[in-house]
């Protein structure tokens, strides 16, 4: 094969290789940031629990298990056939643990997908603007500033009431909210690297704009990109929960951790778990993702510390 003297035979990455890399990465993380490693374990456990919810509980999230409203509400004492309601049931006798697990699916999907989408779009806008400069940059910056002038929750609110209270609209709404910040950060990053020698060389060789952007600028912006993603997961989960709690996020019967908390304070005396379970779920997951995100940020770029 005439690939030249410098060609090196590429070895395919098998799943075993990937697993080995993941393991060594995790060991490194454990050594430097043990708390973040623990946080990662907790997140993985929660993810497993949420994905395999059907295996963990025999109950359905929207089925009622009592004969009257207000039945079975005490946790761990409520029995249905052979199975115990670990966290009891809610005011409509639906099993709380199952609802928390299923609600976690939606909350976590939104929390993971919305920042990814928003940062991808925002980053491309910022990189494009920084690369081309001039009027392109000016217009893109105006759009970014306009979006930043509207408080994030209010903007998300406007989008969900216009287009509907379902998961995808909420994801897009949160993504639109995050994108201007990603745009600003990546723009300032690319403003620095666009003068690098490899960019100059690439242009001198006749590379098109598209090639320079995707072959050089984007790959060299992976650090702030990844950090932004890690740091914004918690924010996205809390914002989605706030929107759903207010009734302008994801609407029932789809349960999310936010809308599980609608109107439950009146039941505090008899069943505090109704208030505590979803709230603690959010707190724990956000805490762990923040700790993990901080470790990522410390590893990849300490200068970004404080650039929330």
């Amino acid at each position: 094969m005439s690939q030249g003297v410098l060609a090196v035979e590429q070895k395919r990455m098998t799943p075993l290789d990937l697993a080995r890399k993941a393991k060594s990465g995790f060991v490194q993380l454990w050594k430097r940031y043990p708390s973040a490693a623990v946080a990662l374990i907790i997140i993985v456990v929660v993810l497993f629990g949420v994905i395999f919810a059907e295996l963990l509980t025999p109950f359905e999230p929207n089925d009622r298990y009592g004969t009257r409203l207000g039945d079975l509400m005490e946790p761990a004492k409520a029995k249905y056939g052979d199975h115990t309601h670990i966290l009891g049931t809610d005011q409509l006798t639906r099993d709380v643990f199952t609802r928390v697990l299923h609600g976690g699916r939606v909350s976590l999907i939104v929390g993971l997908v919305a920042p990814t989408l928003g940062i991808a779009v925002g980053a491309m806008v910022g990189i494009t603007g920084a690369y081309f400069g001039g009027y392109v940059d000016l217009i893109l910056q105006r759009i970014t500033d306009t979006l930043m002038a509207i408080p994030t929750l209010v903007l998300a609110m406007a989008i969900t009431i216009t287009f509907g209270f379902n998961v995808w609209i909420v994801i897009i709404a949160l993504a639109v909210g995050i994108s201007p910040y990603a745009s600003r950060l990546l723009r300032s990053h690319v403003l620095v690297i666009r003068n690098a020698q490899y960019v100059e060389a690439s242009k001198a060789m006749g590379a098109t704009h598209l090639r320079v952007i995707f072959r050089h600028l984007v790959p060299n912006s992976w650090a702030p990109w990844i950090v932004l993603n890690a740091v914004n997961i918690g924010n996205a989960i809390v914002t989605e929960a706030s929107l759903s709690y207010l009734g302008i996020g994801i609407a029932p019967p789809t349960s999310t951790w936010g809308n599980l908390l609608i109107n439950v304070t009146t039941y505090w005396r008899d069943s505090p778990h109704l208030v505590l379970a979803p709230g603690l779920a959010i707190t724990i997951v956000v805490l762990c993702s923040n700790m993990f995100g901080d470790a990522i940020r410390d590893m990849l770029d300490p200068r970004l510390r404080g650039a929330d």
Partner: protein, 315 residues
């Protein structure tokens, strides 16, 4: 310097207009208008509804309606709320005080908590105090503000027989009663911001404490307390102040949620009521007002920053 100020000022106005336009057109996509809302209870015929639509100008082409809205906006008229039968501007005037009070108090609260915690954490770096404060801030960041509000209400009602105040007292007429009414919502809104700012202050302080002039001050024999207060805090504060300014948007979002948790009669509660009543003029009006507040605040912060840090002025 003045050119910079004027340039920034000129940018605020179109930004707010664009923001309002964006939301205006978005809401116009919605089916179901104020007429169907107003006539939902009676037995209004199609003819009556059409007549009402004609009167309200809802049958004009969208661009004409938008032009009318823009023209009104320039004269300070935010539109008319048919649901409440009052001018939007009037409603905003009534409600804006609670929102702004809550937002400013939350900002003050978060700075008041963040500075001592951040400075202490930085100065005692690595100690148990530092660890404890960092755990506290990490947890405060993770607790959803609305859940914190709910839990505070529950704890106060069950433990201390607290009851929700029925009538809101303005801070201008009776500060003490107002603070007594608002301290829980302020804590719920401000705690997250306090955590964010505290971490920022800590990292800025750690950076500044490594600087040469700090070493010089210590070598001169200056007392540690003075080294910290006279030299490091001031220099560490500059980016913190800018950050606090940009953080105001986050606080406004928090205020919108917390107003609904604590039933405070502000713009946040009003916007939700208007959304469910399909009173879109009101919603757009509130969004414009909130964006204007935020944009103006960011401008003030930027100007303050350029005054405080001379390096910015000449760039």
């Amino acid at each position: 310097m003045w050119k910079y100020i004027i340039r920034r000022l000129l940018l605020v106005v179109p930004t707010v207009f664009l923001a309002g336009t964006l939301v205006y057109f978005m809401l116009r996509v919605l089916p179901g208008d104020i007429v169907s809302m107003l006539t939902s209870e009676g037995g209004a015929t199609e003819e009556t509804k059409e007549k009402l639509r004609e009167e309200l100008g809802l049958n004009d082409p969208l661009i004409v309606q938008y032009g009318r809205w823009l023209g009104n906006l320039l004269t300070g008229d935010l539109g008319y709320s048919h649901y409440q039968d009052r001018y939007v501007t009037q409603i905003v005037e009534d409600k804006i005080e609670a929102t702004v009070t809550l937002a400013i108090l939350a900002m003050v609260f978060s700075l008041a908590i963040a500075f001592p915690l951040g400075i202490f954490s930085a100065v005692t770096r690595g100690s148990w105090w530092d660890q404890g404060i960092r755990i506290f801030t990490a947890t405060s960041l993770a607790i959803p503000p609305f859940w914190l509000g709910i839990m505070l209400i529950i704890i106060m009602s069950e433990g201390f027989n607290w009851a929700r105040p029925i009538i809101y007292t303005s801070i201008l007429s009776d500060p003490m009663t107002n603070l007594a009414q608002l301290y829980l919502p302020v804590i719920a809104t401000g705690l997250t911001s306090a955590a964010v700012l505290s971490r920022l202050i800590r990292s800025m302080m750690l950076e500044v404490l490594r600087e040469d002039y700090v070493r010089t001050a210590r070598a001169k024999g200056l007392r540690e307390f003075l080294v910290i207060s006279r030299h490091t805090v001031r220099n560490a504060s500059i980016p913190v102040i800018t950050m606090a300014g940009y953080h105001f948007g986050f606080i406004i979002s928090g205020v919108v949620v917390i107003e609904n948790v604590f039933s405070i009669p502000g713009l946040g509660q009003q916007v939700l009521v208007s959304i469910f009543a399909r009173d879109y003029d009101m919603v757009v009006g509130i969004v414009v007002v909130l964006s204007a507040i935020l944009a103006t605040w960011i401008l003030v912060v930027d100007l303050f920053y350029s005054v405080v840090d001379p390096r910015i002025r000449y760039s």
